[in-house]
Amino acid sequence: MMLQVLAFRGIVVYRERKRQRAKKFWQPILLESVVSVPLQISRLKRSDAYEFLTLWNNLRESLYDNQVEKLNETARTAGADIAARRFLKKGNVRKRLMAVRMLGNLRDKESWDALEELLGQVDATLSFTAAQALLQIDAEKAVKIVMPLVASRTDWTHEAISLMFKEVGADVISLPLSKAVIAACRKNCPAQEADTLVQHVPPSRLIHLMRFSHPRFVTYMVRYILLTMTDLETIAAALKVSDDPAILPAVRQFLSDERWQIRVNAANTIGRTGGAQDEQLLISALHDKEWWVRYRSAQALASLPSVDLEKLENIAAAQTDNFGRDILRQVMAERRLV
């Protein structure tokens, strides 16, 4: 077995040398092609294909979209797109992932069907990377297929979806996402279009993503949720994405909700969007039995445009119990440090 370890080390060294050779050959060409297409580009050898894909993807994702035209041309001239499609059909996970990423970065329309097929994979990384690629190729078309999966594929992480939506942009996602949120909220309504997929998903998962939508969609959705929904996670999620003072009347009511998680989020929202008329409401929340509500209310109070440090000190001095006074002192100290 020790010999096996040594033999394996030999393989590792051999692979690394091969990788370095490919890198030494292709990296200058790729870098050169950012500014001009090199005159002579040799065809990509099979043995160099994975390293090429890695280098190309790495460079491509470091560049702004208006800098990539020549780099794309170099990839196609070298035959990297063909290599990527080959990896897609038969390659290990590592190669397939790198290939999917390249085909997306290249906006390779020819690979649409193969990538769409990957969406159904049990492997979450592979299916998510395929979704990203499809959105890169044709966002309008892909969003109709991807949105129901965003709701149902709970193995796609919220953070990765956030990045994907941020890249796609509010123009593309606002409407389909709003529809998906409504569908998820209306669990008892008859199924329509993609609704069957989202009915079993907690709406909060989708609501958190609303921050990548246009503000008018967010306002509409938050108002709808605050008026119609009652469950904790959904309301808390809606309060988190709410940034429109127009919703304040509804938000204020939640500062006296029996669930502290909702009171915390209501205080945060008032802090972001409230005004002088909310001061008294927040001062009374400084006596809340839950520490987090007191803390967020104090922070909200401090962030109101009508409240400065001097006013905070006066409010603290006027407190009749230690809870309110202590938490205000902490928040004032935080403010002074900032």
């Binding site: 590792v12 470091s62 996970v93 919220h158």
Partner: protein
């Protein structure tokens, strides 16, 4: 039953024990070989490409437990300040240190008293003062009365943490810049995750500069070297194997990430006893499983932290005896999990494995060896059988160690030089003769001490900290004044094109690029010494680099940041005015 019958039965009994023991280890080895390479294949985009959801990761509270750590605490904090993670805070719990731990922090990080409305949700000794750094907003220090245990300090850290994910760390722990990003993944992938463990690697023999691990190496001290092999076995096999069954019984106290409310729901760390890290994880299992609540406790093999291990026999012996006692205490306190109908593979595999093989098995193993040797010496065992048994026992140990090195080669390849590999192989062979048996003996002592309930005390670990060099901060006013304000660009070549993360540049013969920057090193223009900056600052620098001020190689950008130094000087002046 005659004496001979008894001895024969005992011999068979010990043989059976060794078969089951090694069978158990083989199952975890098999699972690790199955899972780990596949997991790493899935991480390829994260490792090789720059596009990642970094901005959307949940915030984390890092809790450093410090008791008499004046030698390493500043370096550790600088190391953490340079982590590649979007939002985190550092909460240092100074557990009534008798040395200058608090003073060195106060001076280096300009701590000021902070009127925190501290919440005592978990039990611990009273907090004396909370401090806030005036130059690093994400750094706070909780100075509390000494509680005599790590558990007491950890509970204070959980109470003081502001974010919902808490990562308790030892003061001498050095994290890799991407460790947190990797460790948090299970929380993103599965909302039912309540705790995640990372790999602990050994820092003895490595080089750390300004709190950053700059060179991975192997120690020349044999005891530390043997422990590297042990840690590889423990983290690459046992943890990966158990986690694959959602039956991980232990997350190392040196590096784990916990959902704060879950820890608070089970009452935090127990203040009495020694194995507080394992006991907490067992209690979390117990609480969630027996109440039928869905949950997951996971392990991330590529999220690594580096920590110092004892290099003396006495230090190591004390540590192992303590671990053994801690193990037995944790198992016995949560014994209801064993073979409980609701306990799943945890109760039917992990815990029995830990109890019979790692727990009382330690005693049995030592007794077994002695018994077999005595049987042979008294002529009650043939030479063939004796040699076969010894060879089998040592051979199985060797098999596990070599398999661990093979898996390490297949996955992380932490020690890439052939000399290092040979040195590790040497350790594998030598540790089988003497070191392992000594370990069994220490564990047996630990077992006896647990049985006879001698007092539980925490021995002090003697740290050499030979791997670390002095940290350089941005607050050394003498150095700041000596720095010329005008930018003396040392850019290696002509900048060609600005990308999202860096500048492409060209020299006469070499092309360089900075695509996929993972971290940013800011260096002073005169001495090229690194300056610690937080991630927000990194982002702002990256987005506003003047055209001729940056060069980049590989995944690290180097900025000769004259303007940042001017900012630091301004801060310095402002501070003095205050």
């Amino acid at each position: 039953m005659t004496l001979i019958d008894f001895i024969v039965a005992a011999q068979w009994g010990f043989l059976l024990f060794f078969v089951f023991l090694n069978g158990g280890y083989l199952i975890t080895i098999f699972l690790a070989f199955l899972k780990l390479p596949d997991y790493l294949q899935h991480q390829v985009l994260r490792y090789k490409l720059p596009r990642a959801p970094g901005d959307f990761l949940p915030p984390i509270s890092l809790v450093i437990l410090a008791y008499n750590e004046e030698q390493v605490i500043v370096s550790s904090i600088y190391s953490l300040l340079q982590l590649d993670y979007p939002t985190f805070e550092i909460v240092v719990v100074s557990d009534g240190s008798k040395d200058k731990t608090l003073e060195v922090m106060r001076e280096e990080f300009r701590l000021t008293q902070f009127p925190e409305a501290f919440r005592y949700r978990l039990a611990h000794k009273p907090v004396r003062t909370v401090y806030q750094s005036t130059i690093y907003p994400k750094l706070r220090v909780i100075d509390k009365e000494n509680g005599g245990s790590k558990a007491d300090a950890s509970n204070a850290g959980f109470n003081g943490a502001r974010f919902s994910l808490v990562c308790p760390l030892d003061a001498d722990t050095v994290l890799q810049p991407d460790s947190l990003k990797l460790l948090v993944q299970p929380f993103l992938e599965n909302p039912e995750t309540i705790a995640v463990g990372g790999t602990v690697r050994i820092i003895n023999g490595c080089q750390v500069q300004d709190g950053v691990l700059t060179q991975k190496g192997l120690p020349t001290n044999l005891l530390a070297l043997f422990q590297i092999v042990e840690y590889l076995r423990a983290f690459l096999f046992a943890r990966v194997g158990f986690a694959a069954m959602n039956a991980l019984p232990l997350i190392s106290g040196a590096f784990g990430l916990f959902h704060k409310e879950s820890v608070i729901a089970v009452g935090g760390y127990k203040l009495d006893g020694l194995g507080e890290d394992m006991e907490l994880v067992m209690r979390l299992h117990s609480h969630f499983r027996l109440h039928g609540k869905p949950y997951s406790i996971s392990f991330v093999a590529d999220a690594a932290c580096w920590t110092e291990v004892p290099e003396s026999l006495s230090g190591l012996g004390r540590q192992r005896i303590r671990w053994q006692r801690g193990l037995m205490e944790s198992l016995m306190r949560n014994r209801k999990l064993m073979f409980h109908p609701k306990s799943g593979l945890l109760g039917w595999f992990s815990i029995p494995f830990m109890f019979f093989f790692e727990g009382i098995g330690a005693g049995l193993e030592a007794v077994g060896f002695l018994f077999i040797i005595a049987s042979y010496a008294l002529g009650l065992m043939s030479l063939d059988a004796f040699v076969a048994f010894i060879m089998l026992a040592i051979g199985m140990g060797l098999l596990q160690s070599v398999a661990a090195i093979l898996l390490e080669e297949m996955t992380f390849n932490t020690y890439p030089k052939i000399r290092q590999l040979l040195w590790l192989m040497f350790a594998v062979i030598v540790e089988s003769f003497g070191y392992r048996q000594l370990n069994s003996l220490w564990r047996m002592v630990g077992l006896f001490r647990w049985l006879f309930e001698t007092e539980s005390i925490w021995g002090e670990m003697v740290r050499t900290a030979s791997w670390t060099s002095k940290a350089v901060g941005i607050v050394d006013s003498k150095r700041l004044k000596a720095i010329p304000y005008s930018l003396q660009s040392k850019a290696a070549g002509t900048p060609l094109l600005r990308t999202k993360y860096n500048w492409l540049f060209k020299t006469e013969s070499i092309w360089g690029k900075g695509g996929g920057i993972d971290s940013l090193t800011v260096k002073s223009p005169d001495s090229m010494t690194p300056i610690a900056i937080d991630s927000e600052k990194q982002k702002s620098i990256l987005s506003s680099l003047p055209k001729d001020s940056a060069t980049g190689v590989g995944n690290v950008a180097t900025v000769l940041a004259d303007d940042l130094w001017e900012e630091a000087v301004d801060e310095e002046i402002e501070h003095k005015e205050i």
